[in-house]
């Protein structure tokens, strides 16, 4: 076994399992590895907390101890989030009409709506994991909004034609306005569901909520708006998603700042007394 092999054995064994025979044999011959493992041995690790401080923490928690209901299983939260988006899209389309469907070809319809369905599913899955600490993230919550936005941008550029359009900004602004209202309408019930979880990083989760609400708005606009010029769809429709995500990021950053202020004042005012 090489020293590199020993690294793998030590990393995979964690702190509790003994090294397997081959690795143990290598350690007995290699002084560098022996030194490294000795330095990293858990028995070397740190001082113990004082019993007084542990008692203080326990007393502090015991004063506010009441039963709590565990958060719902992931699948129920996932279904709820998707149901909110479907509900908002269905209500908005029922009110405004599905004017884009007859204008788009079947390929365009399937491509854009299929991609949006997958994006909504992935974003909902990511949000469900973000509100429970220690959940496994198969896709980084930081990268997901960016990756999905780039993918949708490329898809729109490929699937829809670029043609010169009169009143480009007026029409785009009209869609952005409608889309933003739909995004806000979707974000409110989403927030009511998600606030039950533990939002450890408000900036990232805020961006994800904004992005998810923006996808609801984008889906509505793709079904409703008969203007399928690529530049209009990119600016007037996809722009809503970016706008909602940025708004979520800004709100999240603000909350994060306030949360830190609250924690530090709560900590120094009550906990240490």
């Amino acid at each position: 076994m090489t020293c590199k092999g020993l690294h793998s054995a030590s990393i995979e064994s964690g702190s509790t399992s003994p090294l397997y025979e081959e690795a143990a044999d290598h350690v007995s011959h290699c002084s560098h590895c022996r030194r490294l493992l000795k330095a990293l041995s858990p028995s070397e690790a740190g001082a113990q907390p004082s019993s007084a401080s542990l008692d203080q923490i326990a007393t502090m928690l015991a004063t506010d101890l009441r039963p709590v209901r565990p958060i719902a299983a992931k699948k129920y939260t996932f279904i709820t989030l998707v149901a909110i988006v479907v509900g908002v899209v269905a209500l908005s389309v029922a009110r405004m009409g599905a004017l884009a469907i007859p204008v788009m070809s079947s390929l365009q319809t399937y491509a854009i709506l299929g991609s949006l369905a997958v994006s909504i599913g992935l974003s909902a899955y990511s949000l469900v994991n973000q509100i429970v600490p220690g959940s496994r993230h198969r896709i980084s919550p930081r990268l997901l909004p960016l990756t999905v936005s780039i993918f949708l941008m490329l898809l729109i550029a490929v699937a829809f034609p670029f043609r010169p359009e009169p009143d480009f900004w007026t029409r785009s602004w009209s869609c952005i306005r409608v889309g933003t209202i739909i995004g806000v309408l979707a974000a409110l019930p989403l927030w009511l569901v998600l606030r039950r979880g533990a939002i450890l990083s408000p900036a990232i989760t805020g961006t994800a909520i904004g992005f998810f609400a923006g996808l609801a708005a984008l889906t509505t606009l793709e079904i409703h708006c008969p203007n399928i010029q690529a530049s209009h769809v990119l600016v007037g429709h996809l722009g809503v998603v970016i706008l909602c995500a940025v708004t979520g990021l800004l709100l999240g950053t603000t909350v994060e700042g306030r949360l830190k202020g609250f924690l530090s004042s709560n900590f120094s005012g009550g906990a240490c007394e």
């Binding site: 702190s15 509790t16 490294l36 858990p42 740190g46 113990q48 502090m60 709590v68 565990p70 600490p133």
Partner: protein, 198 residues
């Protein structure tokens, strides 16, 4: 065949699950049991992230406050350690930012005299775990601390850090390479230099 250490790990894990469920049901014994079981490792986790003793104690207390506030987000039957360490990690990040913010507003009024060197004869001995891990970049520090102090598996570290097992392995390997270099390089102050490099 299950070794004694593995048995201990399984038993500890079962107990933590059990006490977390009791904690959610407001059993007055549960907070004390969890605090005594998890706090030593959490304190070492913070100490290994360049926090001094006082600051690590503050972070530990802050972690328990946050755990208490979000205890309903633990799902019974799921592993407790990634859940706890994800919270602790966030508290550590917030604490680090707060300390850095305070430090940027502080102005040194006078140069402090050099602290007398203690343990002079021990300078050539193996550095402590905290000294050693403190010389690593933050991302590698937390992975090594969770693996070696927290006793988390690679999968659990991946969950606690919102990362993948592959990324965790890569960070751990890089940390080992760096630590090997630090340990094999002769000369004092090497750890301090490494820390300053970060």
């Amino acid at each position: 065949m299950v070794s004694g250490l593995q048995e201990e790990t399984v038993e500890r894990s079962v107990n933590l699950d059990y006490w977390m469920e009791r904690y959610q049901k407001a059993d007055p014994e549960a907070p004390r049991a969890l605090i005594s079981a998890l706090s030593p490792a959490l304190l070492s986790f913070f100490r290994s992230q360049r926090a001094n003793r006082e600051h690590a104690d503050d972070l530990l207390q802050d972690t328990w406050l946050r755990i208490h506030r979000v205890r309903h987000t633990y799902r019974p039957g799921e592993p407790v350690l990634p859940w706890v360490y994800a919270i602790a990690r966030r508290v550590g990040v917030d604490g680090y930012r707060k300390t850095r913010r305070i430090a940027t507003h502080e102005t040194a009024m006078d140069v402090l005299p050099e602290a007398p060197l203690q343990n002079e004869p021990q300078r050539h001995q193996i550095p402590t775990f905290e000294e050693l891990v403190g010389a690593l970049p933050a991302a590698q520090q937390e992975v090594i601390a969770m693996l070696k102090v927290g006793g988390l598996s690679l999968e659990e570290v991946a969950c606690a850090t919102s990362s993948t097992v592959g990324a965790v392995k890569q960070r751990a390997h890089r940390a080992y390479e760096r630590l090997r270099k630090l340990l094999s390089t002769p000369g004092e102050g090497r750890l301090g230099e490494a820390r300053n490099d970060l």
